[in-house]
Symmetry: C2
Subunit: 365 residues, 2 copies
C-alpha cells in the first residue's frame, strides 16, 4: 500500500542500488578533487582561512582585518555565449573560470575561491562532458591556486548553463574600481586586441579546434585564433601588480569590447578619453588574417568582445613605475583620459570621431 501510494504521487523508489551516477555522486567526486587540489594548509597559509568547503549548505571563510573580499559572477548560456558543437567541454570548463578570474584581475584582486553552478541536460549527463568540463576547470584553477568551495548541479531541459562565481582578496584599499580615472591619466591595455572576435567569426564560418585544412600556414593561424576565443588567458598577474603596487587609477577588463568597456570606465569616472587608432595593439594573426581577406582589423580590435585583456588608467607620475611585462604579457599606451565634456573619442590620422560603444550586448538591438 505504501509503495503503491509512493509511485502514485510521483516519488521515485530508493536509488541506492542504481548503477547510474546521480548528482550526489558527482558532488562527492568533485569534492574529492577539490580537497586534493591543495597541499596541507600550513604550506599555504591563506588556505587556512577556508573553514568549510564543498559538502554543506554553504562554504565558510574566515575574515581578517586589513583585507577586502572581491566577488563576481558570470553566467554562460549555451547558444548565446557558446555553442556546444564548436566548444570542447574542457575548454568550456577553462573559460567558465577564466572569465571570472578576469573580473577579479580587473579589480586588482588575488583569486582565491570559486563556486560553480552547472545546469546540464540528461543526455550530456551520461556522456564524458561533465568530466571533461571539470578537467578544464581544475586545470586552470590549480594554475592560480584557486580552490572550488561550493556550487550547485541541476538538470536542464535542453541547454547547458553555467554560473561561475569567483572570490578574491586584496589588501585593504588596494582594490581598483572603474571610477578612479582623472583627466591627464594615461590609458593602457594589456596584450593584444581582436583575436577573440576573429576566432568567433572563424567558428561561425565553420572552423573547429583540431580540424585541419589543406592550407597549412593558415591552419595554424586559425587554430591560434580559435583558442583565443575558446580558451582565454585571464590577466591575473597584471591585475595583482596594478592593484598591489597602486599603479592603476581605474581598471576594467575587456569583455564586451574596447569601445563599450572604455565607455563604461569613462561613465563611472565622469571623464572622457581620446584613443589613438595607430597605437592599438592589434593582434598580429588578426592583422595577417584580415589582410588576406580585405577586412579591417581595427574594427575587431575596437569592438570585438572577449579579449579579456585589462584596460586601465595610470597617473602620469606613476607611468615610470609600470613594468614592461608581467608573465610575459606586455602593455601598450593607447591614449589618455580627458575631461568629461570631451566625450570618448578616437583619432585616426587627422580624423577624430566619437568612439560609441558598439561591443556585445544581449538585448535592445
Amino acid at each position: 500500500m505504501r509503495d503503491e501510494e509512493q509511485r502514485r504521487i510521483g516519488f521515485t523508489s530508493s536509488k541506492r542500488s542504481s548503477p547510474e551516477r546521480n548528482e550526489f555522486d558527482l558532488i562527492r567526486s568533485v569534492r574529492q578533487r577539490a580537497d586534493s587540489q591543495v597541499p596541507p594548509a600550513k604550506h599555504r597559509p591563506h588556505h587556512a582561512s577556508l573553514l568549510q568547503g564543498i559538502g554543506d549548505d554553504g562554504a565558510v571563510i574566515k575574515q581578517q582585518s586589513g583585507r577586502e573580499t572581491v566577488i563576481t559572477t558570470d553566467l554562460l548560456v549555451e547558444d548565446i555565449d557558446f555553442r556546444r558543437d564548436s566548444t570542447p567541454a574542457a575548454l568550456l570548463g577553462h573559460k567558465a573560470l577564466a572569465v571570472s578570474l578576469s573580473d577579479l584581475a580587473a579589480m586588482g584582486a588575488r583569486p582565491r575561491w570559486s563556486l560553480l553552478a552547472l545546469g546540464i541536460p540528461q543526455d550530456l549527463w551520461e556522456s564524458e562532458f561533465v568530466d571533461q568540463f571539470y578537467q578544464g576547470f581544475f586545470s586552470l584553477a590549480e594554475r592560480y591556486d584557486v580552490r572550488l568551495i561550493g556550487g550547485d548541479v541541476s538538470r536542464t531541459p535542453e541547454k547547458v548553463v553555467i554560473d561561475s562565481i569567483a572570490l578574491g582578496e586584496c589588501v585593504a584599499e588596494r582594490s581598483v574600481c572603474r571610477s578612479g580615472a582623472h583627466p591627464g591619466d594615461l590609458l593602457y591595455v594589456t596584450g593584444s586586441l581582436g583575436a577573440a572576435a576573429a576566432g568567433l567569426r572563424l567558428i561561425e564560418r565553420g572552423a573547429r579546434v583540431g580540424l585541419a585544412h589543406a592550407d597549412e600556414p593558415e591552419w595554424k593561424l586559425v587554430q591560434e585564433l580559435l583558442l583565443r576565443q575558446l580558451c582565454p588567458e585571464p590577466r591575473v598577474g597584471w591585475g595583482l601588480v596594478l592593484g598591489e603596487e597602486r599603479l592603476a587609477s581605474a581598471l576594467i577588463d575587456i569583455s564586451d569590447g574596447l569601445s563599450s568597456d572604455l565607455n563604461h570606465l569613462c561613465r563611472e569616472s565622469n571623464v572622457g578619453a581620446l584613443v589613438h587608432a595607430n597605437l592599438l595593439p592589434v593582434d598580429a594573426p588578426v592583422a595577417d588574417l584580415c589582410g588576406r581577406r580585405a577586412l579591417d582589423p581595427l574594427l575587431l580590435a575596437l569592438h570585438g568582445g572577449e579579449d579579456f585583456e585589462l584596460l586601465f588608467t595610470v597617473g602620469p607620475e606613476n607611468a615610470a613605475r609600470l613594468p614592461r611585462k608581467v608573465d610575459g604579457v606586455p602593455i601598450t599606451c593607447i591614449g589618455e583620459i580627458k575631461a568629461g565634456t570631451a566625450g570618448v573619442k578616437i583619432s585616426e590620422g587627422s580624423r577624430v570621431w566619437e568612439l560609441d560603444p558598439q561591443g556585445w550586448q544581449h538585448f535592445g538591438e
Copy 2:
C-alpha cells in the same frame, strides 16, 4: 565603407538612440533600487563594510577579524525547478532569494549580501516579467536587510534560468555545519512538513495562484499550499538563534526532503538516527487535504522537498535553552541521533524501517 564593413561582420550600429531597454539600462535601474535599499551606512554599521556594489567588475566587502563569511549558490532552471505558467514572476523573485537565505540559515549565518545571475529569453525581456521578478526579490531582501551587490544578465534561447548567490556572516566559530551531530543528541525540525510538496502536486493537477474554484473552503486551503511551494519563508531567525546561542550541534535545511537531508546530515556526522513518525509535524492543511483524498500525508512529510524548514540536532544539555518559538515559528523534537552503526531509521508504532533518501534528485533515477 566602415559602416558597410561593420554591418558585414555583424556588429550592430550605435544603440544610443534606441528606444528599447538594453541590459545596461536594466543594470542601472536595478543598481538605483539597490542603492536606495538601505539608509546611510552610519545608521546600520554593517553596511559600512560594503565598499563597492553593483557597477564594477566585482563587489568589494571589507573583512573584519573575528567574523566568518558564509557563501552559497542555488541554480533555478525553468521546467525543472519551476514552471513559468504556474509561477508568477514576483513569487519567482521571492523564491530565488528565499532558497539561498535558507542555506545561510542552515549555516547559522546572518544574511548580508546577494548576487543574482539572470538569464531570460527575448520575449520575456519585453514583458513585465523582469520588473515583477525584481519586485519580489527586493521585497524579501528588504525584509531581511539583504543588499544586492552584483550579478549578471544574459539572454537565453528559450528558458529562464536564475543563479542566486547569497553571502552571510557569523561571529567566528559560530557557523553550524552538518557534521557536528553526536549520538544522544535530540533531533528537531522547525515549522511543519509536507506543504510545499502538496502545493507542487496541486500545481501539477492544474491549481493556480489566485484562481478560484466553486468550493470555497477547499479553495483557501489550496491557495495556502500553493504559496508554501511558490513563496517559501526561509527560517532566518531560527538559523541565527541556533548559531549565535551555540544551540545546534548540526544543522541543515530541508530542500531535497526530510529523508534525503537527514541522510546527508548523518553521513557528514558519521552517525545514525531514529525518527518517530508520530512526532512529525505534518502540516495541518496537508493532513486535511490528504484526509479528503485518501492520501498518506506522512509520505509528503518524509520525502517531499522544498519545505525549507531547518533540521537540527541539539545536545541534551542544551535542550532546555531552546526557545519555544522564533518569529512565531515553533519547533518539534522528532527523534534522536544514534551511533553510525544504527543506520537512519523511522519507527511507526511497533514497526521500525530504514529511512532511505527518497527526496528530489536531478539525475540517476
